[in-house]
């Protein structure tokens, strides 16, 4: 049986941050993720590393968020983008409520090197965004930073690995044994190998997000969260020039944020009792978002909806208050109070805080283990941030289009040279596999070899495979063939993987199907049923819960 100083349960933004912090402080670290890195809550967020605009009445949290933005810009500049944002106002009351926000925001703006909140006339606002409702009376302007949430988690995991941590995906914790009031062993099931393994450990960090209560229960402990569903509608390409924030039908704030080569419309916030694994955006949520945004961007329904995504926020369990009154901070629970020493759990938190949460819990873990190392996660850059990258020179050097190189840089920073280097020996690997992004064969091969994906969905999270308007229509079969070759899988596995990937795409598409995406779906169905005959194939495949008849 192996031994570990700390077992981190969960491979989301928090879990990977904890694994990185522990490993950098020299702890023998094992991170267990039931599925893949960033495969649940964080994978459905907008990537905003928010300065805390929605919780101005919790100033200490706003302070923390602002500081974390500074840290993330220091350690992960290569995957951070800035979005200019307009908040158009339609009524005078909007103006007064905006005023107090502006004051709080502006106090901390200089620190993040952004301007204070600015007020623009309707005419100027319309020049910046001609799609706005011409009846606005003014608009507020400010700037926020965004990060690629998949790459952030991936880079945290890889950095942890490089510092000596063991990162195990597809390993589901099935029991945590407690001996003499302390955690003792963690049992987990390796879903790929089909084995049960056990590891002896003095500490366990429960970063399971919506699954945190279930994980705590295995150690006879208690965690209570208020699960809250959030859904996004993903629009093809940048249909707005800047981010837009608007008041929703119920007075909440919703947004339209340019993100990579899409625009995200979000988000909803519903108390939920659904299974986080199978939940999908509902028709009500889609309409809620569209109608709310329609007031300030009247043409919003003309935009092409690619798909939706939905996830569950593990909010702090403040009950009997509206969702937006629940603290946006996080809580770290040391289960010692219920006689389980060495177990720590999180509730609450936001993407922007993941490093801070990790620092807090790692301090506790170190204290428990008697380790004195200081946290360095805010100082040491994540892989790929070593230098700026000369796109034109690399493009010319490797004979790959500038745009493909630039997209590669946006995902990998300086580490992209290792991908490009693969094309020296294998010039064919310059082939475009996913046309929408684009993703080159070399990057897929590199990712499979270095970033431990097990299937196409994992590849999607690492290289944005199949995330474009065609939703995997033309890349699925190609990428699958590469995956099979690299991992030496069977022909049957090849087909199952295609079906799994298409099913996962379907999960997000089905809810919002209309116009362009329906036409697109005809092409997809034609490819995979009429041409590939996958619907007639005799492989064993259980349809996913969301694939049933509707």
């Amino acid at each position: 049986m192996t031994k570990s100083d700390v077992v981190v349960v969960g491979g989301g933004s928090t879990g990977t941050a904890v694994a990185r912090d522990c490993a950098l402080r020299g702890l023998k670290t094992l991170m267990l993720e039931r599925d893949d890195i960033a495969s649940a809550t964080v994978g459905t967020c907008a990537g905003m590393i928010s300065s805390g605009l929605k919780y101005m009445d919790e100033p200490h949290i706003v302070d923390m968020c602002s500081q974390e933005v500074v840290h993330l810009n220091r350690i992960a500049r290569h995957i951070v983008m800035k979005n200019p944002i307009l908040t158009p106002m339609l009524e005078l009351s909007d103006l007064s409520s905006g005023g107090s926000f502006a004051e709080e925001y502006s106090k901390r703006a200089a620190k993040r090197e952004v301007p204070p909140v600015l007020f623009l006339t309707p005419e100027d606002s319309l020049k910046i965004e001609p799609k706005l409702n011409p009846n606005i009376i003014a608009s507020m302007y400010f700037e926020e930073f965004f990060i690629d949430p998949f790459r952030l988690c991936m880079l945290q995991a890889i950095d942890a690995q490089r510092a000596g941590a063991l990162i195990r995906t597809y390993c589901e914790v099935i029991d945590i044994t407690v001996k003499d009031d302390s955690v003792d062993e963690v049992l987990f099931y390796d879903r790929v190998k089909g084995d049960i393994e056990r590891v002896k450990t003095k500490t366990v960090v429960n970063a399971g997000g919506p699954w945190a209560p279930g994980i705590a229960k295995m150690a006879e402990s208690n965690v209570e969260i208020r699960p809250n569903k959030g859904a996004h509608v993903i629009l093809d390409r940048r249909v707005v020039n800047v981010g837009i924030i608007a008041k929703a039908v119920d007075g909440r704030m919703i947004y339209l944020f340019p993100h990579e080569n899409t625009v995200l419309l979000g988000t909803t916030a519903l108390d939920t009792w659904e299974d986080p694994d199978t939940l999908v955006a509902s028709h009500d949520e889609i309409e809620y978002l569209l109608q709310s945004m329609e007031w300030v961007v009247p043409s919003i329904r003309e935009a092409r909806i690619i798909r939706t995504m939905a996830g569950v926020r593990p909010l702090v369990a403040n009950w009997k208050v509206p969702e937006d009154k629940v603290t946006r901070g996080y809580e770290t629970i040391d289960h010692e109070f219920e006689d389980v020493r060495g177990l720590f759990s999180f509730t609450g938190g936001k993407l922007v805080m993941c490093r801070h949460m990790a620092e807090t819990v790692t301090d506790l873990v170190c204290e428990k283990l008697g380790v004195k190392h200081k946290c360095t996660t805010h100082e040491i850059p994540l892989p790929g941030m070593e230098a700026d990258v000369d796109i034109l020179a690399f493009s010319a050097d490797y004979g790959i289009s500038q745009h493909a190189v630039e997209r590669l840089r946006a995902r990998r920073g300086t580490e992209m040279t290792r991908v490009l280097e693969l094309t020296r020996e294998n010039p064919d690997w310059r082939t475009t596999i996913c046309a929408c992004e684009p993703v080159l064969e070399a990057e897929i091969r590199y990712s499979i070899r270095e970033e431990f994906p097990q299937n196409l969905n994992d590849l999607r999270r690492r290289v944005r495979l199949g995330t474009g308007p065609c939703q995997g229509t033309f890349c699925t079969y190609k990428a699958s063939a590469i995956l099979m070759e690299e991992l030496d899988l069977s022909g049957e596995g090849f087909k199952v993987d295609i079906l799994d990937f298409l099913a996962e795409r379907w999960k997000g598409k089905r809810q919002s199907f209309r116009r362009e995406q329906l036409v697109q779906e005809e092409v997809t169905q034609g490819m995979y049923t009429c041409v590939a005959n996958l619907d007639q194939s005799e492989i064993e495949y259980d349809p996913k819960p969301w694939e049933g008849s509707i």
Partner: protein, 412 residues
């Protein structure tokens, strides 16, 4: 911070983030491009992809689903986006009519604004010329040289000289375009002969200025708009009711401007003017066998700016015209509607691509027994003529306007 200052600050941030807000009109183009379903039909029809391969030019689909999605990254498309000849074949074969040619112009305009260093040098040269002369070519400085060149051309084509009418009251403006004004003067003269032959009162601009198409194609929106409004001003001053052109590019571009800015001035290619306004009866009577010329076998080339950016009907009308001329036999080329490679200003910076594209036309033409190629566009004429000549072919190319003028009988 005051409102004015705030606006200035915001625009400077957008500048830094390389965001030039889409205007309402541009948003319509974006809306068109979002219809792409990635089917790839365009890839098998794009003449540039066929000529240079997908590694050199990733093609219309890539422009739609990949390159045009995120404006802050437009700068990184310069190695691809300038290779599009703007022929519009993709848009024509597209099941969703995605407007690739226009999104290409929009993307080029962002590169020109934020990364002018990535705009091909050849385009900067054209831009300078346009800014200085309001023409796409540096005009011959000496008026006498220009006259001499014109007279030599008239002699070569066996055409008489018609005096240019004064800029007087006439409802029809004949607009020759830069190529016929400065280079292929025979086309301008031929058009005058034809209009005069059918007793059409027309006027011409004393100070020819470019229609703005080259500016639009290189992404120089400001200059394109300036040239369009300059033309509109002249139209208003002269109280013009109709514009007749002989250049395919001018036809589509002035037509677009007239539509976009509600000029209410129809723009007709001479071909259309002849078939629709003069009429086939009159035309049939006016054609004669040119003296000393034998029965001639011709093939036609369809200019992209007519068939795809204006209407395919225009080439039907061109064929109808040819049919009316005695002793002319038309042989159909399999590549008649394939881009001549002269579009999109590609030849100004990537001659090899332009030449690879026209090869398709040359090979198809060589397979025919045709002695001449006829096309209603002086730019296509020049491109085909140069390349046929360089490839050692004896096949000659005529602008349709010249071809017609040569075959008209005398008045009365």
């Amino acid at each position: 911070m005051g409102e004015e200052e705030a606006y200035e600050f915001v625009t400077s941030t957008l500048e830094k983030e390389r965001i030039e807000p889409y205007t309402r009109e541009e948003s319509e183009v974006v809306h068109s491009v979002q219809q792409c379903i990635n089917c790839g039909i365009c890839l098998s029809h794009c003449p540039v992809v066929a000529a240079v391969g997908i590694y050199r030019f990733s093609g219309p689909r890539s422009i739609a689903v990949e390159l045009s999605r995120s404006p802050p990254e437009f700068w990184a498309t310069g190695d691809t986006i300038y290779l599009c000849t703007g022929c519009g074949t993709c848009m024509e074969v597209c099941p969703k009519n995605v407007n690739i040619p226009e999104i290409v112009n929009m993307m080029r305009s962002r590169i020109l604004r934020f990364r002018p260093d990535l705009v091909p040098k050849g385009l900067h040269v054209v831009r300078e010329t346009i800014l200085e002369h309001n023409l796409a070519f540096v005009p011959l400085e000496d008026v006498e040289d220009k006259t001499e060149s014109r007279d030599m051309r008239l002699e070569h084509y066996g055409l008489p000289l018609i005096e240019t009418p004064e800029e007087a009251k006439s409802e029809v403006l004949y607009y020759p375009g830069c190529q016929a004004e400065e280079r292929s003067q025979e086309v301008r003269e031929a058009a005058k002969i034809i209009l005069d032959r059918f007793e059409v009162g027309f006027t011409m601009l004393e100070d020819m200025c470019c229609c703005g198409l080259p500016s639009r194609l290189m992404g120089d929106k400001d200059t394109a708009e300036k040239l369009a409004s300059r033309l509109k001003q002249r139209i208003d001053e002269l109280d013009i009711k109709k514009i007749v052109t002989t250049c395919a590019g001018c036809t589509s571009n002035i037509g677009d401007a007239s539509f976009a800015y509600d000029w209410n001035v129809p723009v007709l290619h001479l071909v259309e003017f002849l078939t629709d306004e003069v009429g086939t009866d009159k035309l049939a009577k006016a054609f004669t066998k040119p003296r000393g010329k034998e029965k001639v076998k011709v093939t036609v080339h369809d200019p992209c700016h007519l068939i795809r950016h204006t209407s395919r009907q225009l080439m039907d009308k061109a064929l109808l015209l040819l049919d009316l001329i005695p002793d002319v036999k038309v042989e159909v080329s399999t590549a008649a509607d394939s881009c001549c490679g002269g579009g999109g200003l590609v030849a100004y910076h990537s001659k090899d691509v332009s030449k690879a594209v026209v090869k398709e036309n040359l090979e198809a033409i060589r397979l025919l027994e045709a002695q001449r190629v006829v096309t209603p566009c002086p730019l296509c004429t020049a491109q085909l003529e140069d390349n046929l000549f360089q490839s050692g072919s004896s096949i000659e190319v005529d602008d349709l306007t010249v071809f017609i003028a040569q075959r008209l009988s005398n008045k009365g």
